[in-house]
């Protein structure tokens, strides 16, 4: 009798739990059935009046009924919570195709990019990076580099002179002099920087451009060593194997002096418009440091010698990014600069 009543309560309550349409309705069922004066509680109270053997049986049934209903209630509650969360999250729909607010990352100047790449490359080979001023003395820019006043090589570089007799450095080579004066031998250094030549500006000429000067002073440095370094560096710069060749070139601060050509990377040496059909592209001047230059910087050329080279940084940047107008580099136009 009791048993049957419990079963009826359970199945009735289960129906109400499953069909509840809100948390409130569910709560009403809980209070009515499982609450402190609820229907189940009434059964528990009646249970005391039963004989012992029936009592334990009824207790089991009541407990299992209680657990089943509690479980169902909890599950139903969770279902409501899940549904509520789902609804809430659905309302939080975002149009992720909208643009993100705030400024974008800016852009490094292309010369900065390549210059840094080279600085890192040289540093990995044990070269230190040195700086010198834009305004230099005539001595460091010319005389100390074996280019005395009456030397025709001074005509090779149209110079900007400043009132008072100083000049705007025409090459980064004076930093060699500074490096030798400051650090002495042995020395491995590069000097990337801004240089100036007094010439009219057009798509391929600038009065302001960038060079990267390099120098190594040690004992018994040879043409073979120069070739090794140049080949190693250029292979790293161009990220592929390059074939280099030296031919005579005249620069007063080196002896012997060379023009270094690389086999054209476009046509592989067969001849194309880039190499003007010659198969080779003139890339950089270099040579063994003239003993006079060493001597003028206080280094004994009988004990030390070395090589030096000058890389046209601006030219390299133009080659790398196929920039056809040199004026863009100092034009400050963000439409150009944002591409890098």
């Amino acid at each position: 009798m009791l048993e049957q009543s419990i079963q009826e309560l359970e199945s009735g309550s289960q129906r109400r739990i499953q069909s509840a349409s809100s948390l409130e309705e569910l709560e009403a069922v809980r209070v009515e059935v499982l609450g402190r004066k609820g229907a189940l509680d009434q059964f528990f109270k009646q249970m005391g009046k039963l004989p012992p053997d029936e009592r334990s049986r009824a207790g089991k049934i009541l407990n299992s009924c209680k657990q089943a209903l509690e479980g169902a209630l909890e599950a139903r509650k969770q279902a409501f919570a899940d549904a509520a969360l789902r609804a809430k999250l659905d309302r939080e729909w975002l149009d992720l195709t909208l643009p993100a607010p705030g400024p974008r990352r800016g852009h490094l100047h292309p010369i900065t990019r390549i210059q840094r790449e080279l600085e890192e490359l040289f540093a990995s080979l044990g070269f230190t990076v040195l700086d010198g001023p834009e305004v230099e003395t005539e001595w460091r820019n010319f005389d100390a580099l074996n280019i005395p006043l009456d030397h025709p090589a001074r005509d090779m570089q149209d110079t900007f002179w400043l009132d008072g007799g100083n000049l705007l450095r025409t090459h980064t080579s004076p930093v060699q002099v500074r490096g030798m004066e400051r650090l002495g031998p042995p020395l491995r250094m590069i000097a990337p920087g801004r240089v100036f030549r007094n010439e009219s500006v057009d798509a391929s000429h600038e009065h302001t451009f960038y060079q990267l000067e390099g120098m190594m002073i040690d004992r018994d440095v040879s043409v073979a060593h120069l070739l090794y370094f140049m080949k190693t560096l250029l292979t790293a710069i161009f990220k592929r194997d390059v074939t280099v060749r030296l031919r005579p070139g005249y620069f007063p601060f080196v002896e012997p002096g060379f023009e270094l050509d690389i086999k054209c990377l476009i046509c592989g040496g067969a001849g194309c418009p880039v190499c003007k059909q010659g198969g080779w592209v003139e890339l950089l001047p270099c040579g063994l440091v003239n003993p006079n230059v060493l001597r003028m910087s206080g280094i004994d050329p009988e004990e030390w010698n070395g090589f030096a080279f000058g890389l046209g940084l601006t030219r390299l940047v133009m080659m790398r990014y196929a920039i056809d107008d040199i004026r863009q580099l100092q034009g400050g136009d963000v439409r150009f600069l944002e591409q890098f």
Partner: protein, 769 residues
């Protein structure tokens, strides 16, 4: 410098390399070739032809001429030359048929310019040859152009003979000397020469020649000069130019009848001395210039240009032929001083060989015999020269040579190479040669053993040297903290959305004035390329301003920055170059406040803890929006809005940091502070004050009253409007207090709060508590 292939071939016995391959060899072993041009291509097929009849062609200046063109037969050609007349012997070239003015013209009659013989295109060339004969001594040529820069150190390569010597050495052939010294007359010169200073003019040789006939040069001579870019003038002038182009010895011929007195003086010009040059210019000279003078005054500017008054003319019959040597630096100074570079000065400034002067005279005698057949030499060579020391021998240790080149060298090979270039090589002990350079290499070019490395290296071929890694100790290179710092800064700017610009180091007076700066305080370029680039920038701001103006034409908003050097005058040897970073945030819309606060955020990212202290505006700054940036107790820069009068539309917020100061302050070392174990307490205070009261000042005052237990003061918000009275605002702060040793009691916190309130009220502030 242009070199005639035919000429070189005359001087190198059996040379069979074609111009193309020869050019490559010269490039690899001697000097850079810039290309090959053909010269006188029409000469291949040209022949002398007689004009038989001439009929006018209606409607123009052209005529129809029938010519007897020898092996080509009788031809009808249309010709526009005014000198085309019956009986004329001229040059016919079979260039094919075309119809001109309705008449079929078969071939052409050619001018000297068209043939490449001279620059005369006023009419067809006039010849006195046999009909059908080729033009005597005139053949097509290839002209190899050498980059002048690659031969500035080689006085000998400014003539064909010098280049021929290289070619002979490269190709292993014999060099032929065009000079026959036995032609020089003996005995005293027919003119006296007095050299004031042999340092300026180490040698002056002269020869007097009479019974000269001035007339056009033979065609072969004209053609050769034309091919290498020289302009044929008359036989005497052409002869001097020919010798210059051949053996690199500039020469000059005076009309002897026009020289006053019997002596040539080589002396410094007197101050203000006037000189009328062959180029019709008048020059005022001074003691740095060397003049060639007669009794009446300067007749030539030594080593640069001849004088008008003593110039050769058609009536000249007697000449004084000058073949001299001048000091290179003096010529360079004179030539750059009067801004006149001539073929002569270009050669002399490379330090020519004094031994070459008399060779020039000998070569002149030989040429004059052909081009002015009746000429007579008067007297011997006048030759004023200082004793020229023989070139010093250079010891060349062969193992040293090998170490320099980085390859093995057979002594016999070294000897062969040096001797092929006419160096004298003697054994000087074990593995050492004693090498004496020839006179033409000894003036400046070759003096130390390193110079010999080049001679051997280039001739053996640098491609014979294999790259080799040096054995050197591996060391960490010294760092460059300044550069590293700048690179880090660049990255920060880029991360914050700024794009890097590079501006010129130059600025203009106009820009400087627009910024209210003092142009006189700037370094000035003595030879600016343009008037807007005549000052060195003492601020990066005018450049940035220009970037803002330009980019504002295309963009509504952008962020840019630059790292560069301000250049400031000072009394030291060099100006002070101070690294600066400048940045701009431009927005076409808005009132500019957002940009300025964004700049402030950048400052706080770059310089943590920096204070922004409003300061009096400079002329280019918004008068109510400018501030100094204080960092660690020092002024490290400035932020402001660009004065709206400098910006056409929109607003530009600007940052300018002195990186020298910033970097100096940023190297401070620090140690960590332990995280506090006891909780802090916070309370809010609102200060009621005037609208222009600075929150920063309030914050500082609050902090000053809070005492040592204060952890932080944070701005929360500010408000103006009802219920506050007009002109008043309420600024709220959150103050946090605490102790590293204990938890503060509520009484302690209350005391601090009360102290602050009392202090602020003491300063006259109203507090809402």
């Amino acid at each position: 410098m242009k070199f005639s292939y035919n000429w070189i071939r005359e001087l190198v016995e059996g040379l069979d390399a074609a111009p193309g391959p020869l050019e490559k060899l010269i490039t690899m072993k001697t000097a850079e070739c810039e290309g090959i041009e053909r010269a006188g291509d029409l000469l291949e097929r040209a022949c002398a032809a007689r004009v038989d009849t001439v009929e006018p062609l209606p409607g123009g200046h052209n005529v129809v001429a029938v010519v007897d063109a020898g092996r080509y037969g009788r031809k009808t050609v249309v010709c526009g030359a005014p000198n085309c007349r019956p009986g004329l012997i001229t040059a016919y070239v079979p260039v094919g048929k075309k119809v001109v003015g309705g008449v079929e013209s078969d071939g052409m009659l050619a001018s000297g310019a068209e043939l490449g013989i001279n620059r005369d295109h006023s009419g067809v060339i006039e010849l006195d040859s046999q009909v059908g004969a080729p033009l005597p001594g005139c053949v097509p040529d290839s002209v190899i152009e050498i980059d002048n820069k690659s031969i500035t150190h080689r006085p000998d390569l400014w003539g064909h003979y010098g280049m021929a010597r290289e070619v002979a050495a490269i190709s292993g052939r014999r060099l032929k000397d065009p000079v026959d010294m036995s032609l020089l007359p003996q005995g005293p010169g027919a003119i006296k020469v007095e050299v004031e200073d042999f340092a300026l003019c180490p040698r002056y040789s002269a020869l007097v020649i009479e019974n000269i006939e001035v007339r056009p040069s033979p065609l072969w001579l004209q053609a050769r000069l034309t091919a290498i870019g020289l302009n044929p003038i008359n036989n005497i002038v052409d002869m001097t130019n020919y010798i210059m182009a051949e053996i690199s010895q500039p020469m000059h011929a005076f009309d002897a009848a026009l020289l006053r007195g019997d002596t040539i003086f080589v002396r410094r010009a007197k101050p203000g001395e006037q000189f009328h040059a062959l180029n019709e210019e008048h020059y005022e000279l001074g003691p740095t210039n060397v003049v060639i003078a007669d009794a009446g005054g300067p007749v030539a500017l030594g080593g640069v240009i001849g004088g008008m008054e003593s110039a050769i003319s058609d009536g000249t019959t007697k000449i004084v032929l000058e073949s001299a040597n001048f000091q290179a630096s003096s010529i360079r100074m004179t030539s750059s001083g009067i801004k006149l570079r001539t073929d002569a000065s270009m050669r002399f400034e490379k330090a020519q060989d004094p031994a070459n002067t008399v060779r020039g005279l000998a070569r002149a005698i030989e040429l004059l015999r052909e081009i002015s057949p009746g000429m007579r030499i008067v007297g011997g060579v006048a030759d004023a020269a200082k004793a020229i020391p023989a070139p010093a021998p250079i010891p060349l240790p062969l193992d040293w040579l090998e170490r320099k080149l980085g390859r093995a060298m057979a002594p016999a090979e070294v000897r062969r190479i040096l001797e092929s270039l006419e160096f004298e090589v003697k054994d000087a002990g074990r593995h050492t040669f004693s090498v004496t350079p020839p006179s033409w290499r000894a003036t400046k070019d070759v003096s130390i053993k390193d110079d010999l490395v080049e001679e051997v290296g280039r001739m053996i071929g640098y491609d014979s040297i294999d790259p080799k890694a040096p054995l050197i100790p591996s060391v960490v290179p010294p760092g460059n903290p300044e550069r590293k710092f700048q690179h880090e800064l660049r990255d920060l700017f880029v991360d914050l959305g700024f794009t890097e610009v590079y501006n010129y180091s130059f600025t203009s007076e106009e820009a400087v004035r627009a910024f209210g700066l003092d142009a006189g305080a700037h370094m000035r370029v003595a030879n600016p390329i343009a008037s807007d680039q005549e000052l060195m920038r003492a601020s990066l701001l005018p450049g940035l301003w220009k970037n803002v103006a330009e980019n504002a034409k295309h963009r509504e908003s952008f962020r840019i920055f630059e790292i560069g050097y301000e250049i400031h005058k000072r009394s030291a040897e060099l100006p002070d170059e101070i690294p600066h970073a400048v940045a701009a945030i431009y927005d076409r819309n808005g009132d500019g406040a957002a940009g300025l606060f964004e700049i402030k955020r950048v400052v706080e990212c770059l310089l943590p803890g920096a204070e922004v202290c409003p300061a009096e505006a400079r002329p280019f700054e918004h008068p109510a929006r400018s501030a100094d940036i204080l960092w660690r107790g020092e002024t490290a820069g400035r932020m402001f809005e660009l004065h709206p009068r400098l910006v056409e539309s929109g607003r530009a917020a600007i940052l300018d940091l002195d990186l020298r100061t910033v970097r100096r302050l940023s190297v401070a070392d620090f140690k960590y502070a332990p995280i506090r174990r006891y909780p802090s307490s916070a309370f809010d205070l609102s200060v009621i004050t005037g609208l222009r009261e600075q929150a920063g000042k309030l914050e500082a005052s609050l902090a000053s009253f809070a005492g040592p237990l204060l952890e932080s003061v944070q701005f929360v918000r500010q408000y103006s409007g009802p219920p506050l009275e007009e002109g008043r605002k309420s600024v709220s702060f959150r103050l946090t207090v605490g102790s590293p040793e204990r938890t503060l009691s509520s009484e302690e916190v209350g005391d601090i709060r009360a102290r602050i309130i009392e202090g602020m009220r003491g300063l006259g502030y109203d507090l809402r508590v």
